[in-house]
């Protein structure tokens, strides 16, 4: 290691290092040149507190709390507008999801953010049978604020539901279990193993 790289290592901000180690595609963060084209290209940009360009600067400035508890990464809809325009080819979308995932692993994600709540419901729904049960997913979304508002939401969206059924995109029979993959328990084993490996990897690298 040259004196230069040794110095860089010594003074490298720890949060940046933490992100590089723990966040999927995190090693790209240092490549950002703060041009701002991602911030300007995000169609949901005005709904976030910090667009990607700001998040990357905050990581480098060591603003650990502000970044990980932010709801910004959870607002990303994976439209990829930022990725196609980034002059440095940063996989921005993936970093956003990586950060969100890391925050959740640490249990400091913004608890009331609807996307993070929905992601969890979606995941649990899908894990049960290896396929998403559209009907139950829809219902759990409508009933998230209690029974009465759930009824109201459901009635409001009844037309949509009927159309989905007509187009054979949703079956009322899903309510009684629904379809799944051939070997759901096999799939669960695969996922569990992957999670185990991931956990071991994180353990190895330290937090």
């Amino acid at each position: 290691m040259s004196t230069n790289t040794a110095m860089v290592e010594k003074y490298r901000n720890n949060f940046l290092k933490e992100v590089e180690t723990n966040v999927e595609e995190g090693e790209w963060v240092k490549m950002c040149m703060q041009c701002g084209v991602c911030a300007g290209s995000c169609p949901l940009g005005n709904a976030w507190e910090h667009p990607p360009q700001e998040i990357f600067m905050m990581i480098r400035a060591g603003k650990r709390e502000d970044v990980l508890t932010s709801d910004s990464m959870w607002m990303c809809t994976s439209c990829y507008s930022c990725i196609v325009r980034c002059p440095r080819e940063l996989p921005i979308t993936h970093i956003m999801h990586g950060l969100a995932h890391y925050a959740k692993r640490l249990g400091i994600q913004p608890k009331n953010n609807p996307t993070q709540w929905f992601s969890e419901v979606f995941w649990n729904n899908m894990m049960r049978k290896g396929r998403v049960n559209e009907l139950r997913l829809g219902l759990s979304l409508y009933f998230r604020n209690g029974f009465l508002s759930g009824i109201r939401e459901s009635l409001k969206n009844a037309g949509l539901g009927r159309n989905l059924m007509k187009a054979k995109r949703m079956s009322p029979m899903e309510f009684f279990g629904g379809h799944g993959v051939k070997d759901a328990s096999g799939l669960q084993k695969i996922i569990n193993k992957a999670q185990e490996l991931e956990a071991a990897r994180i353990e190895r690298h330290g937090k």
Partner: protein, 427 residues
């Protein structure tokens, strides 16, 4: 053309822009035999298409005039225009070249009286003005063109126009039977000064250069500012001819971008700063400019130029790579993005937008007539493997005129050392 004498003590310079002219003149003035090969009908290159020069804001024609005078008076220098090198073989101190000479259809008798131009009817896009105006099928490339000799566009050969032109010429200068000629040359060293071309702005999809008339490039803006240019020096919108008083510049349009050119083109920050003067001089009262940038790169002493522009309160600098351009009902380009200093979103209309497009090598990496070392950006590397083939000016890197000329002089010195050795002169 059989009267060209060349030996392994000859230096061939390819490209007659400011760099090629400098290399050729420096070597010829040192007493070396030099042949300058230019593919266009005239010398001058891209510099001739600029209105004014940074940093002194002088007119490029002035420097050109000096160089042309040097060229005219030097008997060691031979200039071939409409010529392209098609093949190079051999090694340092002993190269053979094949050169294709395209027909000009007009010989040395031409006095540039312009009678042929008057009678020809066919019109084509004027390359000199980047297609912003038309020129006739018989034309002088530009006012100061050297040689001062007209050209017949090969597209009118065989049409009635060609005959009309021939009949109009009082000096028997038009020869419609000219053919492509191929000649062979010897050379001890070759200087490659083929220069640059503007990056194709149409490839930057979100900026809509190919869709919005009032989004133009910096090279087009140079032509627009020139009193002898396509708009007689008026800064006006291509869509409706209205005065462009509120102008935005977008820096790094296609440069420093892995989707386009990876390198920093190095001159476009300075060239936009220069062009803010054009706007402010044309409209001193209410002309206003916004420059959108990632970071302004005005190297060493050029920083003073930047500071002066910053002092003008009608010129603002916004640190942001513009995300996209749309167009409103009045044909105004609207810039969208986020100001990275403060995070404010903008959606700002302008009369006209100038894209500061970058410099790309003019010769494609696969098109060199001999295998030489070229870097990832397409510029020629200084490398021993290149033998006695030396790059000069912006064929070697994105350089301004000052640095191009320095580089060109160095290339001349290297070439001189090689031919001296061939001549048995101690080095």
């Amino acid at each position: 053309m059989s009267d060209i004498v060349a030996s392994n003590e000859t230096i061939v310079v390819v490209g007659g822009g400011i760099s090629g002219m400098t290399s050729a003149l420096e070597a010829a003035e040192c007493g070396k035999q030099v042949i300058l090969i230019e593919k266009n009908p005239s010398l001058g290159g891209r510099v001739a298409q600029l209105y004014r020069y940074f940093p002194k804001m002088c007119h490029p024609t002035c420097g050109m005039e000096i160089n042309l005078r040097r060229a005219k008076h030097n008997r060691n220098l031979r200039i071939l225009t409409m010529a392209e090198v098609t093949e190079v073989t051999g090694e340092a101190g002993d190269y053979s070249l094949k050169v294709a000479l395209k027909p000009r259809f007009i010989n040395e008798n031409c006095t540039a009286c312009g009678e042929c131009e008057k009678v020809v009817e066919a019109e084509f896009d004027d390359e000199f003005n980047y297609g912003m105006s038309k020129r006739k099928g018989a034309y002088l490339p530009y006012n100061m063109a050297y040689p001062q000799r007209y050209v017949i566009d090969e597209r009118i050969i065989g049409t009635e126009d060609a005959g009309k032109a021939k009949d109009a010429c009082k000096y028997d200068a038009i020869d419609l039977d000219m053919q492509v000629e191929e000649i062979e040359l010897k050379a001890g060293a070759i200087i490659w000064a083929t220069g640059w071309q503007p990056y194709d702005a149409g490839k930057i999809q979100p900026y809509g250069y190919d869709r919005y008339e009032n989004v133009i490039t910096n090279v087009e803006f140079e032509r627009m500012a020139d009193p002898q240019g396509p708009t007689d020096g008026r800064l006006i919108r291509p869509s409706d001819g209205r005065e462009a008083r509120k102008v935005a510049f977008i820096q790094c349009a296609g440069s420093r971008d892995r989707n386009h050119l990876r390198h920093c083109s190095r001159i476009c920050c300075m060239s936009s700063l220069k062009q803010t003067h054009y706007v402010r001089e044309a409209y001193p009262e209410d002309g206003m400019v916004d420059v959108y940038y990632i970071d302004m790169r005005t190297i060493d002493r050029l920083e003073d130029f930047y500071k002066k522009v910053q002092d003008d309160e009608k010129v603002a600098f916004i640190k942001s790579k513009v995300a996209s351009i749309t167009k409103d009902k009045g044909d105004n380009p609207v810039l969208h993005g986020v100001d990275t200093e403060g995070g404010k979103r903008y959606e700002t209309p302008y009369d006209m937008v100038v894209l500061a497009t970058g410099m790309q090598p003019s010769v494609n990496r696969d098109a060199f007539p001999i295998d030489i070392v070229i870097n990832q950006d397409g510029f020629i590397e200084p490398d021993e493997k290149n033998g006695a083939i030396f790059a000069s000016g912006s064929a070697a890197d994105a350089l301004d005129v000052n640095r191009s000329v320095q580089h060109a002089t160095a290339a001349a010195l290297r070439a001189i050392q090689v031919v001296n050795k061939a001549a048995g002169i101690g080095v």
